[in-house]
């Protein structure tokens, strides 16, 4: 899927994550992460975000995330919401049951 517009979701509250996605003119995926738990969970957070991008079939995007110690489900949900907004699609709730 293609990024149609820049999108931003989430907040900077403790235990939340703020994610912005925009088109990547130079192609490919670029993820920039700031996190209070980067030393211990940085790789896990990037892996979660990459997985969601893949599930949306997004191949070109610039992702900026500011994580305030969110749990994995929150990161996943915020990322899914960001992808929906940026691609102008609705979330496929049926996919959840697979």
């Amino acid at each position: 899927m293609e990024i149609k517009q820049a999108a931003m979701v989430g907040t900077l509250e403790s235990s939340d994550i703020q994610i912005s996605i925009s088109p990547n003119p130079s192609k490919g995926i670029s993820i920039e992460l700031q996190s209070v738990v980067k030393a211990q969970f940085g790789d896990a957070i990037v892996a979660t975000m990459t997985e969601v991008l893949e599930s949306f079939g997004i191949k070109d995007a610039i992702v900026n995330a500011v994580d305030r110690g969110a749990l994995e489900w929150i990161i996943r949900a915020r990322m899914q919401s960001a992808c929906c907004k940026a691609t102008g699609t609705r979330f496929d709730w049926k996919g959840e049951d697979k």
Binding site: V36, V37, R68
Partner: protein
């Protein structure tokens, strides 16, 4: 070598010879006489010890390059004394001092890091170095030797063995007379107990009392006597009144913290030791304060009276006393304005020497009789070892305080903590820094369950009492599983080989070291 809590330690760290922690001790017989640098000498000239300013007093003490200076942290984050004294020392051009306060709290203006960078200080020993200084140290701030961190009970012992020999002790006081009788209990900047300073007053070679409230002779009450004081200096302000005497902390509304506090109080109330004359120490964290309230309810309901509360006092412990739920408060520290002023108003609220509170090398200390001790922690691991110093990124979060002393001294030591904080698990496989050995921890209380330590001396008794009261327990491994299922398994923090801090246990042995954090 590996110590009794499985920590890898070098034999020597610079000139520091490592005595590895070897397990709990029952009795101790020291070979040496108590070391004091105090000299018989007369200081009052023309009927006063008052010096015109700090610089003059510092010159009189003969402070030179490389000597050791000490302070107390009873003014907490409101303290101006450390900044005033270090600035005066710097202006006098004295360098390379060993800085040995009872603790460093987060003092930003002036920054202690700057006094390290300009060479005024080159060595540090304290119970904690919270804030800017601590963060700079774990990031590799250049010092002549690693910082030595030790619990409150270990400091007086280290001074008495002569291992920490103080040249000049600077003692801030909220009231003092011109002969040096002083206290923290009265005056506009009252901080309450001066518990940490007694050992400095009796053992340092020079004692300088600093006040902003010079009172007619004699100062009443007398916490520290004129017989130990060399010089007195009056300054404009010893601290920020709002931060020294912060009002009583409001009870937390966080339902998770309240649940943990309630459960910790339930554990105490279920114990057979919870009977007329029981004793407790709860402390000043949000969970601890709420726990005191729940303990008061249990005490009232049971129709019993506690014999004493110990350690750092809060407004709600004072309230328990006023309600007749606890006979005596032994204050080594006062955590808020209510507790600070309560000592002069109530004959059964007593200021005590921090050494009487927690020093295991005394003929006895008050902790030896304590029934219940409630402790906070950043992390606890499957061996019940506690980390109270370093956060998830290896940063310095807190001081050791009296935690290791309380855990060891109390019949039943209760660690209270939420199972996760944000994405950081609090129950872990292995704590990053071990401050308190798990063998001294009886029970851990979280919102996800209560776990008893099968290796603790009170295990069988507590297990039976909790069963009788219908309080369910889980294993620590179960708590670990719950924590990791929420957060994922954290990647270990990477360090270099450089040791930035040595963590001593209450008996003066090394329980752990903190290595410099590796950053990309």
């Amino acid at each position: 070598m590996i110590n009794a809590v499985g920590r890898e330690l070098p034999e020597k760290i610079g000139d520091y010879i490592v005595k590895p922690y070897a397990g709990a001790k029952e009795t101790i017989d020291a070979e040496k006489t108590v070391a004091s640098r105090r000299k018989p000498s007369k200081r009052a000239v023309n009927g006063t010890k008052l010096m015109p300013d700090l610089k003059e007093a510092i010159k009189k003490t003969g402070l030179r390059d490389g000597m050791t200076i000490s302070f107390h942290h009873c003014f907490r984050e409101g303290d101006y004394i450390i900044g005033l004294v270090l600035s005066a020392i710097k202006e006098l051009g004295i360098k390379g001092l060993r800085f040995a306060p009872s603790a460093v709290v987060n003092i930003k203006n002036p920054s202690i890091v700057d006094f390290v960078k300009d060479g005024t200080i080159n060595r540090i020993q304290a119970s904690g170095i919270r804030g800017e200084l601590g963060d700079a140290v774990v990031e590799g701030l250049e010092l002549a030797e690693p910082v030595i961190l030790r619990p409150h009970g270990a400091r007086p012992h280290t001074i008495e063995t002569g291992d920490l020999s103080i040249d000049v002790a600077f003692i801030g006081a909220s009231a003092a007379d011109d002969f040096g009788n002083c206290t923290g209990q009265v005056g506009p900047n009252a901080c309450g107990s001066l518990g940490y300073s007694f050992i400095d007053a009796t053992c340092a070679e020079n004692v300088v009392v600093i006040t902003d409230n010079l009172v007619p002779y004699p100062c009443v009450p007398i916490s520290i006597s004129q017989m130990y004081v060399d010089y007195v200096v009056k300054v404009d302000q010893i601290g920020d009144s709002a931060k020294i005497g912060a009002g009583a902390a409001r009870r937390t509304k966080n339902p998770r913290d309240l649940l943990i506090a309630q459960r910790a109080a339930d554990v105490m109330a279920a114990s057979r030791l919870f009977k007329d004359g029981y004793s407790f120490q709860t402390g000043a964290g949000a969970i601890s304060i709420a726990c005191t309230d729940f303990l008061a309810e249990h005490t009232e309901k049971a129709g019993i009276v506690a014999s004493y509360a110990l350690g750092g006092m809060t407004a709600n412990i004072v309230e328990m006393h006023k309600k007749g739920l606890v006979n005596t408060l032994l204050c080594s520290q006062s955590f808020d304005a209510v507790a600070a002023r309560a000592i002069v108003e109530n004959p059964n609220i007593i200021e005590i020497d921090n050494s009487m509170y927690a020093n295991m090398f005394n003929k006895s200390c008050a902790l030896d009789k304590l029934n219940f001790g409630v402790l906070g922690a950043l992390e606890i691991d499957v061996d019940f070892n506690i980390n109270i110093l370093t956060g998830s990124n290896g940063e310095m979060m807190s001081g050791i305080g009296g935690g290791p002393d309380v855990a060891d001294g109390a019949d039943i030591s209760i660690v209270t903590l939420p199972i996760v904080r944000g994405r950081i698990p609090s129950v872990v496989d292995r704590v990053f820094t071990c401050c308190t050995p798990g063998s001294s921890v009886a029970v851990v209380v979280t919102e996800a369950g209560i776990a008893l330590n099968p290796k603790h001396k009170s295990y069988e008794m507590l297990k039976e009492d909790l069963q009788k009261a219908g309080i369910k327990t889980v294993s620590i491994e179960e708590l670990l599983k719950i924590a990791y299922s929420l957060t994922g398994v954290p990647k270990p923090i990477e360090t270099t080989d450089k040791i930035t801090c040595i963590v001593e246990y209450r008996d003066g042995t090394v329980i752990d070291v903190i290595r410099e954090i590796k950053r990309d």
